[in-house]
């Protein structure tokens, strides 16, 4: 194996320092992704080497916060992949309707747009009153934002088009109040969402749930870590429960792929076998 170059060694040491000092473990994230995020921060902050950032990470709290924030992806949108939500309506809602109470775990919810999307969908399907959505993320800054349910007005056009393409039954504007700059999610959508800090890498099984959504999170993990998180999901789901991954995330490499049946292979929706 070829020797590592200096930047790679510095990145390894930086990730080790983040873990030892702050408890966040990025050591099993995909290298190319981590390198991109770290080099972005280096350029933004005007440093020449990753080693200079090591000093800042250990001794400058606000720099550390910025770097930790960079390492988690907070890019999301309402009704991202409309066809996925269409499939939730058609294939998952009939299953959820059979339960007296419904618990949904949205793992890696970031700033909450998809948790609110699910709340809208379940409201329209008459299920939200008996549902609790546990929306979790390890990024506290993103969670705090999520709780507020405020998004920029200039996103509304895109979100409305996503909502309509997903098979929405109402007007998207029924779900927020807007002023010149901001749109605020309606209070009734927030009622049954519980926001909680949970780290998929270092924390354990969450709860006994009927449905797990974890979309576009596992793509950042190396295979071994993906398997570890899949075991956690499997243990958290009830038999017959549903697992939803991102549209380009499969179960191909999971040790548990035979423990699920396909509910919608195109949308990466799987059902835990009894």
């Amino acid at each position: 194996m070829a020797a590592k170059d200096s930047t790679e060694i510095e990145i390894d040491l930086l990730l080790e320092a983040i873990y030892q000092k702050y408890g966040y473990d990025f050591r099993q994230y995909s290298d190319a992704h981590i390198k991109r995020r770290i080099m972005n921060r280096m350029v933004l902050s005007g440093y020449n080497t990753v080693s200079e950032m090591q000093f800042q990470l250990l001794h400058n709290k606000s720099f550390a916060n910025d770097l930790l924030h960079d390492l988690s992806i907070t890019v999301t949108e309402m009704f991202r992949d409309p066809n996925f939500y269409r499939s939730v309506r058609e294939k998952i809602v009939p299953i959820l309707k059979t339960y007296p109470f419904i618990k949904i775990w949205h793992a890696g919810c970031s700033t909450g747009e998809e948790a609110y999307s699910m709340a809208i969908l379940l409201t329209e399907e008459g299920l939200m009153e008996r549902t609790t959505i546990y929306a979790t993320d390890f990024n506290q800054r993103a969670l705090d934002e999520a709780k507020q349910g405020i998004f920029s007005n200039n996103l509304i056009k895109e979100y409305t088009s996503n909502y309509q393409a997903s098979g929405g039954r109402s007007a998207f504007s029924d779900y927020y109040t807007a002023d010149d700059n901001m749109a605020i999610i309606g209070q009734n959508l927030k009622k049954n969402i519980v926001w909680a800090n949970h780290n998929l890498v270092t924390d354990s099984v969450f709860a006994e749930v009927h449905m797990i959504l974890c979309r576009n999170v596992l793509i950042y993990f190396k295979r071994e870590l993906q398997n570890k998180v899949h075991r956690m999901f499997y243990e958290s789901l009830i038999n017959g429960g549903v697992l939803c991954l991102g549209s380009k995330e499969g179960m191909y490499f999971s040790e548990l792929k035979d423990a699920y049946q396909d509910l919608d292979p195109r949308q990466k929706i799987f059902k835990k076998k009894y």
Binding site: R36, Y220, R223
Partner: protein, 186 residues
């Protein structure tokens, strides 16, 4: 020269340009080819199947963690960035658009330059933006070979022009000479 892989970045006018290159590469072409074509975030990749029928090489969408192997032309999926890992597998990312694009050519080229070093060939084709210029410069810095479509032959010349101004590229070639050139390189 021992080139190991080719990365191609293309935007508006892309399908026509790709169809003048990829179908002419033989089944036993020794380098895997990875393409970022800017498409709408909602695209379902319908055009990949028709390209597959036209090409001798296997054309497919890149899957996350998939091993990059010869015999294949890999297309970046819509609405995801595509990155190459050092172990020559793919990673996907949903992070913010780069140069207004996701997938971004710069993101693919930058990571592929890290993974393949001087074993990489980078090619910029037609497009009406500036994506790919920084990525192509990075390929050059890592010792790879850089090629740009002659802007005169490009449906949209901006992307080739930006790429040419960002670094000293090795070759500027008219569209209809590119496939022959790629065949002769490896």
């Amino acid at each position: 020269m021992g080139y190991e892989a080719i990365v191609i970045g293309v935007s508006s006018g892309g399908l026509n340009a790709l169809m003048k290159i990829l179908p002419f590469l033989p089944e036993n072409y020794p380098c895997p080819i990875v393409v970022v074509q800017h498409v709408s975030p909602r695209s379902d990749g319908y055009w990949i199947e028709s390209m597959n029928r036209t090409c001798n090489l296997n054309v497919k969408e890149a899957d996350e963690k998939e091993k990059i192997e010869r015999g294949n032309i890999y297309m970046a999926p819509a609405n995801y960035h595509l990155l190459v890992e050092k172990d020559k597998t793919f990673s996907l990312s949903t992070e913010a658009r780069v140069n207004f694009a996701r997938p971004s050519i710069d993101v693919l080229f930058g990571s592929a330059a890290d993974a393949y070093g001087d074993g990489l060939i980078g090619l910029i084709l037609t497009g009406s933006n500036s994506d790919g210029a920084i990525g192509l410069r990075k390929i050059k810095e890592e010792g790879g070979l850089t090629i740009v479509q002659d802007p005169e032959t490009a449906e949209s010349p901006s992307m080739p022009l930006y790429a040419i101004s960002a670094s000293s590229v090795d070759h500027i070639l008219p569209l209809d000479e590119i496939s022959g050139f790629l065949k002769g390189l490896v």
